[in-house]
Symmetry: C2
Subunit: 192 residues, 2 copies
């Protein structure tokens, strides 16, 4: 009646190697995209990664990765892993609590419907994504689920800024390489 | 870089006390609603619970509860906890995998946007809920997020049956008692 979710050893080592502060958003996204590639190449999860940073200083809390298959846990998407580890490190269920700096979630595509919700409830004040279109699903075969048509204004309503198309081509290149690798797409299911 | 999520001791004991098979859907929901009440009354989480059962035999896998506040984890909603524990017990990230019986998720209201997504990715073939209207938000103050307008047909598209309004009044009674208790509403945030 207990579950334990971990980042892979390589991700812990890579986090330790990164600078404590990453002021440039491009640098943050570049690191996230690198993790997304390493994750499927090393067989530790799907091609998805996410990072939590202090938005204004770039102080890194953690970059995490998808762990669905190794942990037998369909909820262990990159955003859920990363937000949960960040909240564990900072000892709060609310990254937007009183007296805290504004936190930013950086992801290598628009979150799926589950992770979109996880973002809303996390307390982050900023979401930066590499892209939001149909490319991810078309290239990889993953199902991203039915996102609300006004997903962007629904973020704004809850005080979460949205920054789009950060290093989009680099993110797509990882999806292409993932698709070419023949790796497992773990959530594709039609109405059968 | 590791998180451990557990059910409270009382929930482990209550699970052990329940019959192995619960053929009646009303009995399944009654147990889930009971857990939702015990969870806030004992101070171990919000007024939400969920159960995973074999749909056709009623064999119980586990009933779990919300653990957001005690675990400092905004993703530890009842559905995510319960689906994750069930997948851990059954050693699979896909409860709809080949050769498995059809699994049913029973929840004391329509899942929030995050948990709606978690349901889609879990592999369950059936979702039974106590209700889906605005009563939960109106009574408790929790934000359930922007669910897609065609959330029900989107479930059907992925082969998940939907059973609504199971013991609705009993579920609402717990929300009323929760609201009257003055307990913490942990995700309310306007656009500020």
């Amino acid at each position: 009646m207990q579950i334990t979710l971990t980042l892979p050893d390589w991700a812990i080592e890579e986090n330790a190697r990164l600078p404590e502060f990453m002021p440039s958003l491009d640098d943050r996204m570049r690191a996230v995209i690198r993790f997304s590639r390493l994750n499927f190449e090393r067989g530790t999860g799907g091609p998805f990664a996410a990072g939590v940073f202090e938005r204004d200083t770039g102080k890194r809390v953690v970059i995490g990765v998808n762990r669905v298959v190794p942990h037998h846990c369909s909820s262990a998407h990159a955003e859920v892993m990363t937000l949960s580890v960040a909240q564990h490190i900072l000892e709060t269920f609310d990254l937007g609590g009183a007296g805290m700096p504004a936190y930013q979630l950086v992801v290598n595509w628009r979150p799926c419907v589950m992770c979109y919700g996880a973002t809303l409830w996390s307390g982050v004040r900023s979401l930066a994504i590499a892209g939001s279109g149909g490319e991810l699903e078309a290239i990889t075969g993953f199902d991203e689920g039915p996102i609300h048509p006004e997903w962007d204004t629904e973020l704004a309503k809850r005080g979460i800024e949205l920054i789009q198309d950060v290093l989009k081509d680099e993110a797509i290149a990882v999806y292409r390489d993932f698709a070419a690798s023949g790796a497992l797409v773990y959530n594709g299911r039609g109405g059968s």
